[in-house]
């Protein structure tokens, strides 16, 4: 832009050989063109002294325009002082008046365009477009640089996450979700600018902040929540921060990030505390879990897993009779002793390794039914647990059928326990799978009934043969009238659906008597026996 027509013509004549040229006689006109054509502009040539809007004002205005501010500006001037001032105001370069030879002008323009394009490429690669924070690759690079600048300071890493972010996206739309993320990004950026840290958006709604361990997390939490208040009323409830600190962070940054991520993911809705620190106890648990995962294959090949059996008694006759048993796994670890299933089952369920353990139990239980039938002449039906991850396996019915067939066991004596919560996850899939399993001859027991969120309506559409009442309902049945009435209600539902009811976790005579009176068909629990090894279980068969 240049108010002198002659200068405009000279410049256009030089530039037109290599570029499409748009001209303007003052800053205002140029701003309007730039707003319209910013996608096509590689460069702006700017005269400083112009009527209506001079070049300095234009430079100021451009800073406020998101579309235009990234376009490089070269100032045309004959004044030394103006050169410095315009460079300070954001100009990329200047061209002196009277103009240099055309080839010099073209070379300078080409160089500036190249520089800005390179810069834009770097910016696009380096930063997350939505939040302006680094992306994860550059974050790791800059975090390492940070360590080099501050080698003697203790560092901390924070993982920040929005709990149930997908719900915000689903309810309010992705655009709204992006606003939430941008607001978090802005707060984090302010924080790291002040605290000299490094931050990135790792993915979706997960952010990393790395810096000196100066106890900034409460303040950062407050800053984020304040910024989110206009968008999310329950921001305080949703933002979670997992923190890992220590001198060893830089040694293995990605491992430190895993630690912070682990504690962040562990913060549930129920926790009042939304900032959690990785500590020795968590570390110990993590080490144990790592060991268990590492040892699993060896444990299977060395037969460290043992199947225990807990008897189930039919109670509606004159006296209780052994009707079946539940096969339960135990791990006899050579170094750690007997490991509680509570320690390894949830872990293996999480990472999908449970399938291996389940298959071992399935085969062992089928073999055991056959063995007892051979030795005692009676068939003791056994129930085995089918984990959620197993249900996703399309071949499940065929696989189980092969197991019972190979052991020579009738599928009707082999019960499958599916947890209620699995029904909730993906109802249509599990309904199809349960139907396939029943068609293959197996009976389905809905395990842990009452702990999931099955609606009454859903119960009518689910294929199962037995409802297994969770022990939480049984626990207080003898001293809590509400618990009593709830069980009574479940019994009615079961009768309505035409399915049997098994109560588990029965410990006391009072509980047993109440359940029997209420019409419960089968009872399992310490009242009769804890889970015992196969040899010990044979005592019940003999009785």
């Amino acid at each position: 832009m240049e108010d002198e027509e002659i200068n405009r013509l000279i410049l256009s004549n030089i530039l037109e050989k290599e570029f499409d040229v748009l001209t303007a006689a003052n800053g205002q006109e140029a701003l309007e063109i730039a707003r319209r054509e910013y996608n096509r502009l590689s460069l702006i040539l700017l005269d400083l002294l112009m009527p209506v809007m001079d070049g300095y004002t234009f430079l100021e205005e451009v800073k406020k325009e998101p579309g235009i501010k990234g376009i490089p500006v070269i100032v045309l001037t004959s004044e030394r002082e103006a050169e410095v001032q315009s460079l300070n105001m954001g100009a990329a370069d200047f061209i002196a008046k009277p103009y240099d030879a055309p080839e010099i002008i073209l070379a300078r323009i080409a160089r500036v365009i190249q520089l800005y394009e390179d810069k834009n490429i770097i910016t696009a690669t380096q930063y997350d477009a939505l939040t302006g924070l680094y992306n994860k690759e550059f974050f790791l690079k800059y975090a390492t640089l940070f360590d080099q600048y501050y080698p003697d300071d203790e560092k901390e890493i924070m993982v920040i996450n929005v709990n149930r972010f997908h719900v915000i996206n689903a309810m309010e739309g992705r655009e709204y979700g992006d606003k939430v993320l941008a607001a978090i990004g802005k707060s984090i950026k302010e924080h790291v600018t002040e605290s000299m840290g490094v931050a990135c958006r790792y993915n979706a709604d997960i952010f990393y902040v790395y810096g000196k361990n100066e106890g900034h997390e409460e303040k950062l939490m407050q800053t984020i929540c304040d910024a989110l208040k206009p968008l999310l009323e329950d921001a305080d409830e949703r933002i979670r921060i997992g923190v890992y600190s220590g001198m060893d962070i830089g040694v293995d940054l990605s491992r430190s990030l895993d630690h912070a991520m682990l504690v962040c993911n562990g913060i549930s809705d129920k926790y009042h505390r939304k900032i959690v620190y990785y500590n020795a106890q968590i570390q110990e648990k993590e080490h144990l879990e790592e060991k268990l995962m590492h040892d699993l294959d060896r444990a299977l090949s060395e037969k460290q897993f043992k199947v225990f059996y807990q008897p189930k008694y039919a109670v509606q006759g004159d006296k209780p009779t052994l009707s079946s048993a539940e096969a339960l796994v135990r791990w006899m670890h050579p170094e750690l002793g007997m490991i509680s299933p509570g320690k390894f089952i949830p872990l293996f369920e999480q990472n999908g390794m449970i399938g291996k353990v389940d298959r071992f139990v399935w085969k062992e239980a089928a073999r055991q039914i056959a063995d007892w039938r051979k030795r005692f002449g009676v068939t003791i039906p056994l129930s085995v647990n089918v984990s959620r991850v197993d249900v996703l396996n399309e071949e499940l019915a065929g696989e189980l059928r092969t197991i019972v067939d190979e052991a020579g066991v009738d599928a009707k004596n082999y019960y499958l326990e599916l947890t209620e919560s699995a029904y909730v996850d993906d109802q249509s899939h599990i309904v199809t799978m349960a139907q396939k399993l029943r068609e293959a001859g197996f009976s389905i027991e809905m395990d842990d009934f009452g702990t999931g969120y099955s609606s009454l309506n859903m119960l009518t559409s689910l294929p199962f043969d037995v409802l297994k009442l969770d022990m939480v309902f049984v626990r207080n049945i003898h001293n809590d009238s509400k618990a009593y009435r709830l069980v009574e209600f479940v019994m009615d539902v079961a009768r309505f659906l035409g399915v049997k009811v098994i109560a588990e976790g029965v410990e006391y005579l009072e509980q047993y008597e109440i359940l029997k009176k209420l019409g419960c068909d089968v009872i399992q629990g310490y009242y009769f026996s804890k889970p015992v090894c196969a040899e010990e279980f044979e005592r019940f068969i003999k009785e």
Binding site: D3, I6, L9, I10, N13, L49, S78, K97, P98, Y99
Partner: protein, 111 residues
């Protein structure tokens, strides 16, 4: 007006044509626009009325154009007056204005 006329009057024609990417016709076409009497009159009137700010703007604009066309005999006194006007110096400008007019008119006669 020809290239030779301009050269004979003292214009640095080679430099001016080079700036016009070697296009002499284009260069010669631009010169009359630079010599338009209104530009010089504005400068003259503002200086005489001691409107130094406006006078500076007019001089500065002329300086840019004449410099790009390398019309050296007019460009040099224009540079001199521009610097004086930049600091709004209240000095006798008559002689300088006369030099500017004389130089401008010598070129204008060839149009």
């Amino acid at each position: 007006m020809t290239i030779d006329d301009l050269r004979n009057l003292g214009a640095n024609v080679d430099e001016g044509v080079a700036r016009c990417a070697g296009n002499a016709t284009f260069y010669v076409m631009l010169v009359p626009k630079a010599l338009e009497i209104s530009r010089f009159e504005t400068l003259d009137q503002c200086v005489k009325a001691k409107q130094f700010k406006e006078a500076f703007e007019a001089a500065h604009a002329l300086k840019g154009v004449l410099g790009n066309l390398s019309l050296t005999p007019i460009y040099e006194p224009i540079c001199e007056i521009t610097e004086l006007l930049r600091t709004e110096q209240d000095v006798p400008y008559e002689a300088l204005l006369e030099t500017i007019w004389a130089a401008r008119n010598r070129f204008a006669e060839k149009i």
